[in-house]
Amino acid sequence: MDTIHACFKEKIGEVLLPGDVFSFSFPESGDGSIKTEKVICGPGLRRNGEEVQVCKSGILRHKQPNMYWIDSQQRRYVPAKGESVIGIVTAKSGDIFKVDVGGSEQASLSYLAFEGATKRNRPNVQVGDLVYGQFTIANKDMEPELVCIDSCGRANGMGVFGADGLLFKVSLGLVRRLLAPQSEIVKDLEKIFPFELVVGMNGRVWVKAKTVQQTLIVTNLLETCENMTSQQRQTLFKKVAEGSL
């Protein structure tokens, strides 16, 4: 009985709003043999007893064989445990730094949460610096906490960065596309000229290229990528690659 798949299939590609519900009517088990179907509910869908509810607004997408999710366009970041983000240090108070991560509250970062930091050997972090860290605590009841070391005590790419370069904000969907394992956008950008790129899950991206002009070109390309199809993007990148020195 493909009732579940049929219910979803008719809504693929349609706009759904939070509060929309998929309810499945299972026929009485008269014959005794009910085929169990496995359906994976991705982000934006939530199971509530016998129903599946939509909790984010967006378009329903489907991936073979049985995965469904809501493709949502969001700019506002909500801190979640384990995510790596770019933060801006806003204050130093006692033993912790206050970091702005773009959420509803500022996160706290202890000065001991850096590689090789001890009580005597304090890390060199000033107000206004950029830090790349991970959330250890992130829920609505407590203040979010960041750390710049992993569970083994190594920095692993995290910490203070950004002596030069430019920080800008994009939507969360674009950030996810950039962080995907085989990201087309990053591959196409690499062909134009070399640059350093740091992507935070809170929608913040930091770029540094050899000259200021190249940095600005990469920034503008990434910001326009949001509203372009892949065809338009490839033609634009090709035009820039030919036109730039």
């Binding site: 706009v15 967006g58 366009q73 700019r75 506002r76 509803s104 509250e105 609505k140 199809t229």
Partner: protein, 245 residues
């Protein structure tokens, strides 16, 4: 105004509408790129612009933040060119403070503030052209702006005005009908549950007429909610189609 009938014998009002007809509603979302959420709404000749920032850290004094929910901060203002006579309105005058307080009350009922403790949500609304129903246009525009900002709400908040002439309730009053001296009722409703967020009435009304008047306003609000829902879905389609990879 002698001889100016609010409702003619054939049942037509001053602008040619029937008693229960609403004015034409047009709206656009995401009109500002800098704000978290923004919307522009026209209800007949009344034009309102709403901008939402947040949820973010409480600005100013720490004491204003609540430990278990977000604070909603509303500001209502009218442009100097919005009325028939150009009039400079200072910030913080009595009328705009009262309207700001009403808007705050309305949205505290609808926004799920428990999800963002110790933070603040700012809603700024400006009337660009005032032709009656200022409060309603503000509420409708702010609802769309909150949806655009991705802030979770219990339901759309739809507002409409209603008046009473002879024995007929009129829905969606324009400026001439409001200032005629008759009753004017403003209602803000959460359409799906039928819960009233705010109810305000000017002038006197016979007790027997109250129920039909509220009924007329509720029906108008439910019709408006369908229009707002259509605007949101259309905006989502436009934005999502572009980002499909």
């Amino acid at each position: 105004m002698a001889g100016l009938e609010l409702l003619s014998d054939q049942g037509y009002r001053l602008d040619g509408r029937k008693a229960s007809e609403l004015r034409k509603v047009q709206a656009r979302m995401s009109v500002f790129a800098q704000a978290d959420g923004s919307a522009y709404l026209e209800q007949g000749n009344t034009k309102a612009l709403a901008v939402v920032y947040g949820p973010h850290e409480t600005r100013g004094s720490r004491s204003k933040s609540l430990h278990d929910r977000a604070v909603i901060n509303c500001q209502y203002s009218m442009a100097t060119f919005s009325t028939a006579e150009r009039k400079r309105r200072p910030h913080g005058d009595r009328k705009s403070s009262e309207m700001s307080l009403h808007l705050k009350q309305t949205f505290e009922a609808a926004v799920l503030t428990e999800l963002y403790p110790r933070s603040q949500i700012d809603i700024y609304v400006k009337i660009l052209q005032a032709d009656g129903g200022n409060y309603s246009a503000c509420v409708n525009a702010a609802t769309l702006a909150l949806v655009d900002a991705g802030i979770p709400m219990r339901d759309y908040v739809c507002a409409c005005t209603a008046g009473f002439v002879e024995d007929t309730p009129l829905a969606d009053l324009c400026h001439a009908e409001e200032s005629g001296g008759g009753t004017s009722l403003a209602l803000a409703l959460l359409p799906r549950s039928g819960n009233i967020a705010l109810l305000q009435m000017d002038a006197r009304l016979h007790q027997d007429h109250l129920d039909p008047l509220i009924e007329a306003a509720m029906t108008a609000c439910k019709g408006l909610s369908k229009v707002l829902d259509g605007v949101v879905r259309q905006h989502l389609e436009e934005v999502s189609v572009l980002t499909r990879d």
